[in-house]
Amino acid sequence: MIEVKEVTKTYGDVIPVQDANLQVEEGEFVSIVGPSGSGKTTLLNLIAGLLTPTHGEVIVDGVALHSMSQRDRVAFRRKNFGFVFQAFNLIPYLTGIENVEIPLYLAGIKAKQQRSLARELLEKVGLDDKGNRFPGQLSTGEQQRVAIARALANHPRILFADEPTGNLDRRNGKEVMHYIKELNEKGVTILLVTHDSEMADFARRQIKLVDGRLQR
């Protein structure tokens, strides 16, 4: 379970997130919607432990994320979280399959086993025949599917998806959302940030953020 307790983030005079309170149950699919610049990504990064709140705290399964040392927080993210970014953030000099292997490598799995697991993951997103291509040789939709396969590699309990369809056309966008929904049905908690109401509808619960404040 994720608990966001009175979280505020400030950058000087700018307050992208103010007094945010939120509770996400295990296995939920929550989308955070709002206009551009409303603080959606900042809130997601605070919940994922990538940013430290100025006030308040984020508790995941009873553990206050920001009271951990940086090293422990990195390890916690590695074991429990998966990330899908708008810009995919695939490593350009690695092939698709090698990109998927990264979380497996970080988990200490042997190289041979990494390869077979990564192949399985690519198969799940329908890219088993394109694993040896570099990101630049894949379409944007295919790149995002590789990124999803990478996010799933460490069997995350929570998947953070920041505008995962932002760089995709409608058809590819919906396809990606179907993969994400399937994951949720398998028990993965999903936190989705999007400004696209059609994509937000894939979630079971929607939260609106306006000027850094959560709207009920």
């Binding site: 953030n89 000099y93 970080l106 190289a111």
Partner: protein, 383 residues
């Protein structure tokens, strides 16, 4: 995936940039190897050239001042020629290149003064640079009633002379030496025994010039050899190093070494800055990748390790190529610079690796430290 894959795959995919990184190390190491190799050749050549200044130890009668300018002693006190044999009994006799006894006499030839020196074949050993018509002396030197003329001595007397009369005896001119730039140019040389007969000083010499092979060796230097000679010779003989020459020899060598070291250090510092700049750019260019890796749980230390391994790989390749290129450059072009044969120095290879790796690590400390301070969100957002 393995840690090393992040290094090899990135380096191979970004071939041109990787080559630039290797080039900075190659340049530094190449110049180090070239400077050291040519430096050694210069040392060797300088030693050889300085040896041509003449002997570096003079044995003369006690109290007789040696005139460096003319290369002779003034006065009439003589030494027995047998001291030559005594000198050859010193402990470090292997360092003796030539032990050349000399007896001088000034003659008048058609109203022109000529300093004639009685010498043994050792003189030829002491002066291997002596040439006639640009070729090294091949004749047995000098023998019987023969006379060898210095360059300017022959010019003064007339180039076409085939014989010269000294003290009533006729000597055949066996050759005229090419210019040496030393007092030898103004002298003539006849066999020592002939000179002793001419001046009726059988078995006697004015001085003995000694050439040693090692001027500043660690185990034994010319001062040590001179000391040993002093110990085996009777007290009427005074052994002295040609200090001015020795100082000039050592001073020149030090200057050559200092200059090449200074040039090398400047290039090394420059290469270090270039490499550091390269590594900083690499960290900047890969901020997004670093941000993503930090976000999905890679520890900053592991990311730093990737960068350090990369610079180490550059160092090993750059060190090896730098050694090969520096040596090749020295061997091919060194003879034009050093005017001497340049040989590869194998021992520089491990030194090259040590310097290259040291340089690589030193220049990646500051850029990679930035990784640990990098905020993943900032890194992902910024690009």
């Amino acid at each position: 995936m393995r840690t090393i894959d992040f290094v090899t795959k990135e380096s191979l995919r970004r071939g041109r940039k990787s080559i630039a990184g290797v080039l900075f190390i190659l340049l530094g190491i190449g110049i180090f190897v070239a400077s050291q190799t040519i430096n050694k050749a210069l040392h060797d050549r300088t030693k050889e050239q300085l040896l041509r200044f003449g002997a570096n130890i003079i044995v003369q009668p006690k109290g007789e001042p040696f005139d460096l300018y003319s290369g002779t002693v003034k006065g009439e006190i003589l030494l027995p020629e047998s001291y030559v044999d005594k000198i050859r009994t010193i402990e470090h006799q292997g360092m003796l290149v030539a032990v050349s006894p000399k007896l001088y006499e000034r003659f008048e030839i058609d109203g022109k003064a000529l300093l004639v020196v009685g010498v043994t074949p050792e003189e030829k050993k002491a002066k291997p640079w002596w040439m006639i018509d640009n070729e090294v002396l091949t004749i047995e030197f000098p023998q019987g009633k023969e006379i060898l003329l210095g360059h300017y001595a022959a010019a003064r007397l007339g180039e076409d002379r085939s014989q010269i009369v000294l003290g009533g005896e006729t000597f055949r001119v066996s050759g005229v030496l090419d210019e040496t730039g030393s007092p030898d140019d103004f002298m003539a040389f006849i066999p020592l025994s002939a000179m002793q007969g001419l001046v009726r000083k059988t078995g006697m010499v004015h001085l003995i010039e000694v050439s040693t092979s090692c001027i500043s060796c660690k185990t034994m230097n010319i001062y040590g050899v001179a000391q040993e000679m002093d110990e085996v010779l009777p007290p009427d003989a005074q052994v002295s190093t040609v200090e001015q020459i020795a100082k000039a020899q050592m001073g020149t060598l030090r200057k050559v070494t200092g200059l090449t070291t200074a040039i090398y250090l400047m290039v090394l510092i420059l290469c270090g800055f270039l490499l550091m700049n390269y590594m900083s750019s690499a960290v900047d260019e890969r901020r997004r990748e670093i941000g993503m890796l930090l976000a999905i749980g890679m520890e900053p230390r592991k990311i730093q390790l990737i960068f350090v391994l990369k610079v180490m790989a550059f160092a090993v390749i750059g060190g090896l190529l730098g050694y090969v290129m520096g040596t090749g450059f020295s061997v091919l072009l060194g003879p034009l610079v050093a005017e001497a044969k340049v040989s590869p120095i194998i021992s520089l290879l491990p030194i090259s690796f040590v310097i290259a790796i040291g340089l690589g690590i030193a220049c990646s400390i500051i850029p990679t430290r930035r990784i640990s301070r990098l905020d993943p969100v900032e890194a992902l957002r910024e690009v």
